[in-house]
Symmetry: C2
Subunit: 332 residues, 2 copies
Amino acid sequence: MVRALLTAFAFGFTLAVSVVATAQTTDPLSLWNEGATKQAIIQFVKDVTTEGGSRFVPPAERIAVFDNDGTLWAEQPIYFQLAFALDRVKALASQHPEWQNKEPFASLLKGNLKGALAGGEPATFQIVMATHAGLTTEEFEKIVRDWIATAKHPKTGQPYTEMVYQPMLELLTWLRAHGFKTFIVSGGGIEFMRVFSEQVYGIPPEQVIGSSGKLTFELRDSKPVLVKLPKIDFIDDKAGKPVGIQKHIGRRPLAAFGNSDGDLQMLQWTTAGSGRRFALLVHHTDAEREWVYDRQSSIGRLDKALDEAMARSWTVLDMKRDWKSIFPFEKQ
Amino acid sequence: MVRALLTAFAFGFTLAVSVVATAQTTDPLSLWNEGATKQAIIQFVKDVTTEGGSRFVPPAERIAVFDNDGTLWAEQPIYFQLAFALDRVKALASQHPEWQNKEPFASLLKGNLKGALAGGEPATFQIVMATHAGLTTEEFEKIVRDWIATAKHPKTGQPYTEMVYQPMLELLTWLRAHGFKTFIVSGGGIEFMRVFSEQVYGIPPEQVIGSSGKLTFELRDSKPVLVKLPKIDFIDDKAGKPVGIQKHIGRRPLAAFGNSDGDLQMLQWTTAGSGRRFALLVHHTDAEREWVYDRQSSIGRLDKALDEAMARSWTVLDMKRDWKSIFPFEKQ
């Protein structure tokens, strides 16, 4: 079984999921334990897809949006895109002698991650911009592709693309089988996620929404290129998420899935629509198989959104309780 | 036939096209005269969709982008969105006494369109911003919906949604039948076009790319809304078009269709991709059925792009020569 899975992963996760499903059961959500969470999802999909029902929604309007970090794949001990940026800082350090005396780079290069990130979001953005900007979109794509093919998660030793939540892959596939268009709506970089979103999640680049830097079009040796500029274009987080949804989709989602306060406004916007809507928060409760964190975490903090979920009866997924397995590399 | 057409249009243009096709012939491009233009399109589609062929492209990568004004619908005597904005200026004038002495509004309200637009693009943007901003996205959608349902084109007396090029509707339908995802990439406002793009072109809102103002998310009486701000977010024209394509699609199109210098960079970007690509310019050459304009026109100027099309052997569609009929309301 493990070998079949590994082979299947070489051809993308969607295939892997179908292999699991076929081998074990015909339940399309076979990795979800029976209970209120699974039932809530199934009932929602039944409501909006039952023709002639009072809550039926035509396929064109079946939009489901998913946060990425902490919702589709893990985000501990640091956001994976930050791990990418840190590796880039190391790779580029010899071309930037000035970084030896300039924060946040100086701390980083001394191996002091905590010190480097003490500058908060501005420091993070400085790292991301310094390592992403100046490249053409094609150059950047190649760098991400090479990194994602070789980099390993510091705790599990697995490729980052295996740090995805298998039950969520099942859910994505199952929603699409019911006429949903699935979108990623993430604070992560749009160009970063698009490199692997189609292979890993079955989500094509045009259905990935994320934070972005400004781009400029120019001719280099008569060849048109798009160059990444060191300027923020859009931050797809918190109140930015409904804006990103409007910019890219132009239609309010029926269902939204997130895991942190950064997703609160996306869930508010989704559930404020008329008719049947669905909102779910992933609560990280599994210290053994994943991580435990919520209100106090600096990464993926879930505090205000958890209060609002309880007040509004949004579905709160308990990772430990609701998922039979989490990562594809776990023993089945 | 005319009556059948009119009935069909009430249910959307895609249906109308299929009625025409079924009644007259099985040629899916029945409104295109035989000749080099039609042949070039058919050959391109055949090349990229023939499995096992050296130029085959998988469906996920079959992206076709279309400019809107002058490519899918007419743009004379003024851009239709500008006509909308002018009607809004008149409707809002009583709430803005200061407009009586402030250009470009003063000239506009005196019926002097030429004077109002003498300020060039800044004047146009000022009009658009003044009439679009401050509204929630839902309020704006309703205003556009009401306007498009009632406004009439000054020359033909037809609703603007009938000022569309029927052969292009056929082409959109035919490309989609061959696995293409069709996108609009227009200098026009994204929120404006999305109101009618699905009904008129069969293009859902998430496949419409256009110019946009900034949006802000806020809670009004605890209800989440998105409010249009009087600030430009993105101009999807000229060098902005490849940028818009990258932001929204993240994948280089296989085929691009435009009609003016505003589309030049989109066609450059498209054709610079590897493998088989296709670029087409609509040349407005039909004084009787539509309009004749190119190098000297202030609207839809086609000058540099025409030179480049000839130098690079892009397909130049001659409206008079290549299309059997143009608008749906023409006598068949």
